[in-house]
Symmetry: D3
Subunit: 241 residues, 6 copies
């Protein structure tokens, strides 16, 4: 089966890193194709950038030529999954929801650890809308921007591990969800220091997408996510070919 894994920002190295994570989690017969939006921010850290990413991901997916069996939207706390579900007939899995859903099988409460403080309300809102917030102990931010993670990985890792520790000791989280990507050894360090399972959203989303495909399940079309009614849509898709 083939799964498109859509990055939400325009940084190609991020797409590569996400696709690599996806491949590591995927079964042997699953092909992973990383998708980079053609417009938008080089990192997503707020509502404007996230809304733009939502449309950019839809744009890149509808421009994608070839068959595929599922789509994973690989942005933490980002808008847009509902739109993809309307446009497509294959399952669409958002990593924020996939990670939360997976964490809930592993412990009584989970916490999300992310980068910037301003991402926290976006993540909280997505979890709330998804109805997956009830067992969320906290969403914590390390205070480092997405791109800083790449610039000073050691410091970034330490800052995130510190928040994971506080989530476990102060907020009573029993599972940590990584609300950001691309750092080597992060999972291992959190596991080591906190003694709890660590869920990576990309990995979780890929296995869920595979399972949905295998079970022959896809988005319900009867109401919320029905195919858009035929109508005049000016300027869509945003980019061509």
């Amino acid at each position: 089966m083939k799964i498109l894994v859509a990055n939400v920002n325009t940084t190609q190295t991020m797409t590569d890193s996400i696709a690599a994570q996806a491949r590591a989690a995927a079964g042997p017969d699953t092909e992973i194709v990383g998708i980079t939006p053609r417009f938008g921010a080089d990192s997503c850290e707020g509502n404007f950038e996230s809304y733009l990413a939502a449309i950019a991901v839809m744009d890149s997916i509808v421009n994608y030529e070839g068959e595929y069996d599922a789509v994973v939207q690989a942005g933490y706390g980002e808008h847009g999954r509902e739109g993809l579900q309307e446009l497509l007939d294959v399952p669409v899995v958002d990593i924020t929801e996939a990670a939360a859903s997976t964490a809930m099988f592993l412990g009584h409460k989970y916490s999300v650890v992310t980068t910037l403080d301003r991402a926290v309300p976006l993540i909280e809102d997505r979890l709330k809308l998804a109805g997956l917030d009830d067992r969320c102990a906290s969403v914590r931010a390390s205070g480092m921007a997405v791109l800083e993670l790449e610039e000073n990985p050691e410091l970034a890792v330490e800052a995130i591990v510190r928040q994971a520790e506080l989530a476990v000791t102060e907020d009573k989280a029993e599972v940590i969800v990584l609300g950001c990507g691309g750092m080597a050894n992060l999972e291992e360090k959190i596991k080591e220091r906190c003694g709890v399972p660590v869920v990576d959203g990309v990995a979780a989303a890929v296995t869920i997408a595979e399972s949905l495909v295998r079970l022959g399940l896809t988005t319900s079309k009867v109401r919320t996510y029905g195919t858009p009614r035929p109508k005049k849509v000016i300027g869509w898709p945003i980019t061509q070919g």
Copy 2:
């Protein structure tokens, strides 16, 4: 003061009608400017169209030349208000939230009556995120599309009034919020038949925007709605000049 009232779809007659509603509610010193997006659907009835509208509204506002004191986003249940709040320093008022907020001063519970059934979950989700759903008795749909309202206004009015009646008698609503626009006499008919106050979102939003401007209040920039960090954003704005 000057308020931009942004339509969420590309139908100019709708913009005109919304601007007229806004003007009827505005104070004598308020200038209303209707804004039509440069791309997107001719009517918004789902997540894809709504996400596209969110970006199209932001695009048209950032392209707007001239000063203004506030922005009203005039789509019922649509995405995007948070993005505008990040991009702008003036108050941004969404009509879904304005109407709910106003209705809560008038009765114990309110109901929203809208057009298509598929719009219901979008409205419910927006109210939930806004924390304004607790006293919402129901969101009901008349089953008629946005553009049908214009084609067969009499039937459309009757279908909506019928849902308003059911909201009052079955769901115990004490106030009706109109989750759609553009029909003559609709408010009067609902008031007459149901005996309850009827809140129009555009009117409510304009008076709230005026009040915020008068009180010198605008969007908090400390966290969620902080100005986007300077970064490379490819292809933005979508349209130029």
Copy 3:
């Protein structure tokens, strides 16, 4: 238009101060009349005093001779607004609810800062009943009584500003609602020190009342706030003439 602004305690200087705040927020054509209850406590800081105030406010309003277009109940976290809504045909706006409702247009979460710790549960309960608590980050008390505010204004201001700071840094509030009144420069100091918008309930309530009157909206009479059924009511109003 004419708006009655009802103080909830029997301290005339408080009424004057509240009326002045109301006038500062009101439009040029709005007449503000301050109302002082004829009985009750000289400051309201608990349920007994608040219930007594509820009846005293209703008593003073029904005893008021002359026309008016709306009533603002100017007590933070006090009982009684629902009773006024039953007795009157004009809009009634409570400042606790007006402030919360206004704050929600300005930031993702708001906090209320009030005087005594024992007022906190009353405010929380009013916000809960009003369905406006979902985005309330916290209700914090400075620990100073209402009348101390007047006796030692500098210390009182500092104590309240400190709680506002904690609300922003610890509770993640993006807007501060002032749950008490009458201190010069308080708003400015909080804005300066915390960098967030500050909402004053009296100002918010007056603009909402004006808007409701302008839009021709008033309390729904179909159920909860219907006019009391004609019946024998001994000893009402409590005071005469």
Copy 4:
């Protein structure tokens, strides 16, 4: 021990009937004293009347001469319990809360059946504030006023039993709480027709009050229900001696 059972309206026959119910539930060593307010409505059916009753009950209790061990406030869905808790050192039990609390030991969900439709939101609000609404399946009204119950008891009983039946079959209630008083045979008829336990608030409240007294428990005075601070309270109590 001696328990004051306070009627919320000024109808002496109601007080007698409530006191009789209380006596039937009380232990052999418990003395029941019925209290009738000195002012207020002859029946309570809305917020204004309920707020007035709150103050009238407090007035009659503080005017009561003699010792007592607990107070039961015997109005369904009425305001005021919190005020009594502040003024008194003995336990105060509200029948709305007592009935709900008791019903929750008997079945998975309970429904309240009351008289007038306009009382429903008051009851819902009191249960919500008390944190006892989670397992409330519904609050249903028979549509008959309090005094009609006495005028046409047979019809009134039938109307209430009908709502109890619907609560069980439609709303999945497993216990019925009687949100009104004074009718002979009502409990028996509901039990017979619906096959579920029926909880009377006065009886429930009396046994809870007795238990609290026996266990030496009374209202916590550390915060919300602390004794009112000494201050000038004009015109209190409302009535003298």
Copy 5:
């Protein structure tokens, strides 16, 4: 009347201590019979032990020969009450729920103080299912195991009193519920140090059970707690005679 008070662990001295607490709370005409399960853990501190206790308590009750009027299940945060309700026709009262329900008549918020940290989620879950969590300020653990309480009572008491203090000062609890049993003077020390009422679950449950019996109320059998349908149940009861 006769009440069976079922210990959830197999430690006979605990049963004796619980029965003594029950007797101290019971009325003069109430006979208390302590029941010790025939299998299970010598102390219950987790889900496995609690599920086993649930079955062991049901086993010991169905094996009990003789009449009784009510059953109290005396384990804090344990499973099983619903099963007893199905099997029996007499009222069943769980001490976790009895204590919470009682505490809510005494203060605005209550906290539970228990022994081990791992018991906290069990208690929270039971309160949530019971719909009694809304006014629960916190569930705090002293970090000492059930049996340590007996080994080092002085230290255990101090550790629990410290958590009670924090519940009052930090979490704003106004009432403390003891989520563990068997220590002399614990109630007195908490009352003395925190100045708030202290509710013991066994005492609360006994008086509630007595009240239900006196009022002729028992478990509703129409749905959730209906008698099990006749069917083949292998190996039940677990123990014989």
Copy 6:
């Protein structure tokens, strides 16, 4: 990998049917072993039977000789998953939660359709505790007992399909979760008649268990589901060898 799929009742044909469902969903390298409890009811339809099943499943798992990688508890709305999580180091997946979690990736709201009405509160409670109830539109019962499903499959299928239709049209479910097992063609008929995806809990749970194993994730042991402390447990396991 090897997954134990535990039936909750003692009917071997049910175990076989569940194991067959599991095998149909499992990957080619997954071995499925059906487990039948050694004691308990031949069908589970209430709390007593469900609690007994919880212990019987734990008993049969701890008695199982041989290695395995995960456990699926295959009872809809049953107790016990938390206990297994404490006792085992491998992932444990409950089908009630697996189905809900999966359905939430497919539509805005889902409904569960089960057999007996008395199972509804158990399922609702499990979903509530799992924090998966927010997007549950309804839990509906066909009114037929578990064993009747096998006796009159045609009628049973029709009764269930009817409830699924009502869930979609009345309750606005967009996905149907089957809260019962063992009927041929049920999924196909619901899909055909309702046009929505149908989720089978056993299939969903098996793919989730496989994914957890593949990702190297297992139950967090830091708090709620920590291994039981060493202590004296009389009579455990219930059965030997």
